[in-house]
Amino acid sequence: MDTFSKSETREALDSVVIRFAGDSGDGMQLTGSQFTHTTALMGNDLATFPDFPAEIRAPTGTTYGVSGFQIHFASYDIMTPGDEPDVLVAMNPAALTTNIGDLKKGGLLIVARDAFTKSNLKKAGYEQNPLEDHSLSAYRVIDLDIQAMTLAAVEPFGLGTKDALRSKNMWTLGLVLWLFGREYTATVDWLRQKFAKKPEIAESNIAALKAGHAYGETAELPSGIGPYEVPKAKLEPGEYRNITGNDALAWGLTAASKLSGLKLVLGSYPITPASSVLHALARLKSFGVTTFQAEDEIAAVCAAVGASWGGALGVTTTSGPGVALKAEAIGLAIMLELPLVVVDIQRGGPSTGLPTKTEQSDLLQAVYGRNGDSPLCVLAAATPGDCFYMAIEAARIATKFMTPVMLLTDGYLANGAEPWKIPSMAELPKFPVEFPTERPEGFHPYLRDPDTLARPWAIPGTPGLEHRIGGLEKDFNSGNISYDPANHHKMTKTRAAKIAGIAADVPEQQVEVGEASGDLLVVGWGSTYGAITQAVRRAREQGKPVSQVHIRHLFPFARGLDTLLRGFKKVIVPEMNNGMLSKLLRAEFLIDAVGVNKISGQPFKVREIEAAIDSELENL
């Protein structure tokens, strides 16, 4: 663990939001994650939000090629990457123009002055250089010739200008690290490891990093600007790491495979923002994980179902358009009553929509998007780290109830990171699965467990349990094909009852924050957790009568939700969609749940939810 050793006098701040913005090629994501990492080591709580363009490498200098990374860190526990940045780092004019609107008035703006060339200004749509026309007077500006200083710092390594300039993000990182009293050791280690095979690259980057840091220490910054320090947060004791939602998900699935004793078989097809789960699992072959990049989403889910039938934990990961394609096969899995975990990492829709942006607009597709009466279990993760636990929960329910489970996360959870207290495997409850090996009296594949209504998971290869399954309706008593009218009614009701029964197997719905009854209840699900919690806490600090419920089990709802909802005069439901959970709650409980909807591909700001709370309370 690194410690902070400098002795300058530093202004103490409770919390800071920094946004790094530059060209896609400027390495802003790396800069952000290195800053994040060091900040975590410093003991702050933090949350991050990377926001990058759909283009792989948009032409340099364009506004749509701007890549951003926001980090919020504080001396108390925080849950969102922050509403507006206190500090904006803009590596070129395009980054400035697309981000300056978000910077707090009076906020700190760090710009690479020498990137404000005529051609870059033009590409960003500036008629004049904003660094020269007083248009930035509302901010505290540090404009430096970062490119020139980088070139100077890496000169000894004899790189070409193009390569040398690649280190300018490290120079900038060095400066910002110094500004907030952070060491660069961790980044140095990381650079050495990453470029182990190209030591000259590692060393030139390190030189730039150190030069930026040194610049802070030695140069005279305009008065009133830094240096700062952000004291440690009081976090629950334990071993921590940073984790993104997609990594947590991949590890959660792998953990589920260990806890259940099942082989994990992933069928997937690349799609933003889900691909990195496939990548992460592909690296875990040593854990017996099999990954199959299929020819399309349909083949991917079918392979997962085939794997499940064979006795594996069959999983498929995708985003909204992929779920649409998988609908027919998921319907088959429902009919076959096989375990299956379908992960939908939601993005902006409809259609191709906004592939790199976040949204929660697949909820109704998850619950209803299949032909026929085809209920399955729907879960949602609330934070990046929660993806780990919800992956395990999905696998547990899928195998216990022999059902597909749809787990919803989103682009914000997928790429966002948070400090995560690392669990120990021994603490996590095992849920071993047993495959029947003996042929019980009257065996047939749809013979049900009287408690869970689950059918036996008899797997091919088992002598004596040979059977046939398929997508046609089955006879309740024999498992054979049946066109009998009464039987179909009974089977439909049975499938529904089995899924409804999951509610008895999960914890009662709890209030997240506040009392269990009162004036105003804010109900959320998924990645809005942080923003809602923060907003409700702030409102309560101001004495406002508001509570929060956060739903992880979306279908069926957990027991007790009904009572909670009825305990409040008013229920509002913030969602990053045009009103989906609110529809489910209204239909189920007949309460006038009112949507607070943001469909912009961006997560909620705490302020926006506070505003919704205030306006509801006024109208109560």
């Binding site: 790491r241 083949a299 794997a307 088992t462």
Partner: protein, 342 residues
């Protein structure tokens, strides 16, 4: 065979399920079913380790009639389910049953990809050149001009040749047989089962209800000798009716075309006739496209090329990673940078 059961000699009955067969009387599917049920015991197949997996169509009802593990999936996707199953348990002997609609229309892409990957499966495509189950619409193998409920004025779609498609996709085992030719069909299945990789077998099948006689030009008993070429590896490609002249296939000198020659005519002898070589892919391409009336149809193994089976490669990669890589979950969770809060 499982250790718990004493090895006993199995018979057709052991592979026959208790379900009534629901195909139309006279359907070619019966013959194929009977041949499989008779063949499996002869090669020591274990019902517990044998899986029949199908899509949707008349032909895809097949698994219900086999007393093995069976999976009647959704339309066109059987190869994908089979791939997932095989990756999970490579010990299973998996037979994919599909039709010309199921496998070539909606399922063409999965077929193509399973073939190129070379997953160790047998894929039997029942080609009746029609959609049976949905009552007779034309299929991707129907000939131009076919009048069907969806083409009342005759179809204008150029058909696909299953074996050519398979070869184009990179298939390494391609065979062809006929529903009612049990003596040819059974051994073809045996060869397919023996191949480690995807074996693709097109079976010419008659649908007496919606496309009766689609293969009469091939099967016509009176001229079967002339219309069918029974391929045998290493043997000259000879054919002809018992009482008629012996004919053979020859490569037109210095071209890429095959021609039919008659032994004894113009000094042609058996030595002039091309010898079948299962490992010769260009030859398989030429053979796959032959059809009466100008040529006999080629039956038997058109191509057999050894190559790594996908499932074996995947398993090998996992196993070697297990040897050398991280296996402790707690350690995994702690890879990279961590820190402790006290």
């Amino acid at each position: 065979m499982s250790p718990s059961e004493p090895a006993k000699k199995l018979t057709r009955k052991d592979f026959t399920s208790d379900q009534d067969i629901r195909w139309c009387p006279g359907c070619g599917d019966y013959a194929i079913l009977a041949t499989i049920q008779r063949t499996l015991p002869t090669v020591g197949a274990d019902p517990a380790k044998t899986v029949f997996l199908s899509g949707i169509g008349c032909s895809s009802r097949f698994p219900y009639y086999m007393n093995t593990y069976g999976f009647h999936s959704i339309h066109g996707r059987a190869p994908a389910f089979a791939t997932g199953l095989k990756l999970t348990n490579p010990e299973l002997d998996i037979w994919v049953i599909t039709g010309d609609g199921d496998g070539l229309s909606i399922g063409g892409n999965h077929l193509m990809h399973v073939l190129r990957r070379n997953v160790d499966l047998q894929i039997i495509l029942f080609n009746n050149r029609i959609y049976g189950l949905t009552k007779g619409q034309y299929s991707p193998t129907s000939l131009v001009g076919l009048r069907s409920p969806s083409t009342p004025l005759g179809s204008v779609d150029m058909p696909v040749t299953p074996a050519l498609l398979a070869l184009g996709a990179g298939a390494r085992f391609v065979a062809r047989s006929v529903d009612t030719l049990a003596k040819h069909l059974g051994p073809t299945f045996v060869e397919a089962r023996g191949y480690r990789g995807t074996s693709f077998i097109e079976v010419l099948q008659n649908c007496p209800v919606f496309h009766d006689g689609a293969w009469n030009h091939v099967k016509d008993r009176a001229h079967a000798g002339q219309t069918m070429l029974m391929l045998e590896h290493g043997k000259p490609m000879l054919f002809g009716d018992k009482d008629g002249p012996q004919q053979g296939l020859r490569l037109k000198p210095n071209t890429l075309e095959l021609e039919v020659v008659t032994l004894g005519e113009g000094g042609i002898t058996e030595a002039d006739v091309l010898v079948h070589d299962e490992t010769n892919r260009p030859m398989a391409f030429l053979l796959a496209g032959l059809e009466p009336p100008n040529f006999p149809i080629a039956l038997g193994v058109l191509l057999r090329e050894q190559a790594a089976a996908y499932d074996a490669s995947v398993v090998a990669q996992v196993e070697s990673a297990k040897q050398s890589g991280l296996t402790d979950m707690d350690a995994l969770l702690r890879t990279g940078h961590t820190w402790t809060v006290e």
